[in-house]
Amino acid sequence: MAGSLWHRFPTLLIARRNLTRTRLRSLLAMLGIVIGVLAIASLGVFGSTLQTSVTGSLGDIGNQLVVSPSGQNNVTYLTDQDVRDITRVAGDASVIPVRQGVATLDVHGTSQRVTVYGMERPAGAYNASEGRIPDPLRSGALVGATLADNQNLQAGDSIAVDGKTYRVRAVLESQQAFSPINPDGAVILPLRDVEGTGYSSVVVTADTGPAANETAIAIRAALNEREKRVTIFEFGNIVQQIRSVFNAVNLFLIGIGSISLVVAGVSILNVMLMSAIERREEIGVLRAVGYQRTDVLRIMLAEALLLGVIGGGIGAVLSVAGGLVINQFIVGDWSAVFTVGNLFYILVALAFGVVTSVLSGLYPAYKSANERPVDALRK
């Protein structure tokens, strides 16, 4: 079956025969392509794996916005009117006004200063790891994961904040994300229990990143039209910036990988030139018995193509294997290698490998094809 396939493409058959004549040399030339493709593909996969692992922890909050008073034009807090405006333009997104303060926390006889957040409906933004978050929060306190861990607090315990006693209704899940509103080390109380005027910030959680982005635009339009009342902290922007940094790093890594492919190309050029010189008389005979110039050109290019396709194929398979290992170690899930991005890197590397080979074969092939048979056969 395979045999008949070869015979259907005699040019490839001849090319394969020619390559297997100098097996070691062909293998070494192919090794160059293998390494080049492996370098490009695996550096690309490595970069995108790193990106996945870093942005994975940021990915959840790409749909969050934190609206804060701008600090300009005497705006030092947000009013109920601001919150109503935000709610009006935010559509389906959940809007949680927050009043931030600092209070003294007494637990089991020890005392410390902690951040407190006053929220009416924290259930819209946070999840409990223990206990249940009442919605709305009218009484009791929620404790951040880090604080609960340090103070050995559990749902149902009693704590005192600024002398007032609260029952712990829930311990919050640990927050992966980096955010100006981070309840990990803080206590969340009902809004009216936190001193202050208005709100220190508003957390808006949309369904998706793009929706959050649109909401941010809408909020700016609604509140900042006449004067700059608010600044908006967009997580999506940060995620995007981090992504673009990683893309740059990736390109850099791939650039380094391509250097090895250039070296591989030179080595193929060398091998093909050598074999063109060695086979000079033979090519002369082929031309004499009726092979056209284009036939010779095609045979030589097919040799380069075979080197590129086989070498590139091996390189691609090896880089998938390498990607499995890298993902197992960095992300902890080997199957994470099968993403569209990684497939793209591998295909691009393979394509570069094949193109490099064929380009390198072009000059020797041209040279062989255009030599006059009478010169090639001159003794």
């Binding site: 005699p10 058959l13 297997t20 005979v285 018995v289 092979y291």
Partner: protein, 267 residues
Amino acid sequence: MGASEADEGAADGDATAGGGSWTGPVLEARDVVKRYETGGETIEALKGVSLAAHPGEFIAVMGPSGSGKSTLLNLLGLLDEPTEGAVYLDGEDTSTLTERARTTARKQTIGFVFQNFYLIPTLSALENVEIPRLLDHDPDREDRAAELLERVGLGERLTHKPGELSGGQKQRVAIARALINDPRVLLADEPTGNLDQETGASVLEDFAAICREGVAVIAVTHDEMVTEHTDRTVTLIDGLVRSDEPSAGRRRADGHDPGPRGPGDGR
């Protein structure tokens, strides 16, 4: 569609046989001159040579080295172009042909046998014979190659690599390779040059047998023995034909005496 195929067939007939009507020499050099430029110096390898080969004729081209006989063979084989004069294939001037058309003409008309055989060492005898037809989608190629090898007495050696064959056997593989395209002219450069006397004689016997099938054979040589098998001996000296006469010791295996022939007597 059927009509156009018939047209093509007619056109083919015209092209290959020079018309079934052409009865002159299959290959002819008329007053060819070949000059080379080497390091500012002009060397005139051929100074006006004419030679015609009729179907079935076996011609020896003799001469000392430097006499221009290899150059003449290259011109006749359409591997090179004369500086002056022209080579005619079936009576048609080949100097106007494109490179591609010349290559096609070589493939359809001319078989080459080289002194150094030029077999591909990693291919079997059979595969070496198939080489000229390898790019054609020809299902009978392998059978035909085997048949040709059997004919030159190598039926038992089909799968042997050239390294496993003797000099005479290699030369026979080369002959079979030259015959696979059904040439009407066989050009041989020193066909006995690398062979001992006995092997050389039997190779020449093969050539004579090929001639009897109507193929013109031109052998360039400085081996006197070759002339024992040829019809005509052309002697070149310093780029000129010194003599062109029936071979002195001609003794064709079929005992047939073709008699003296010159260009244009239309056999």
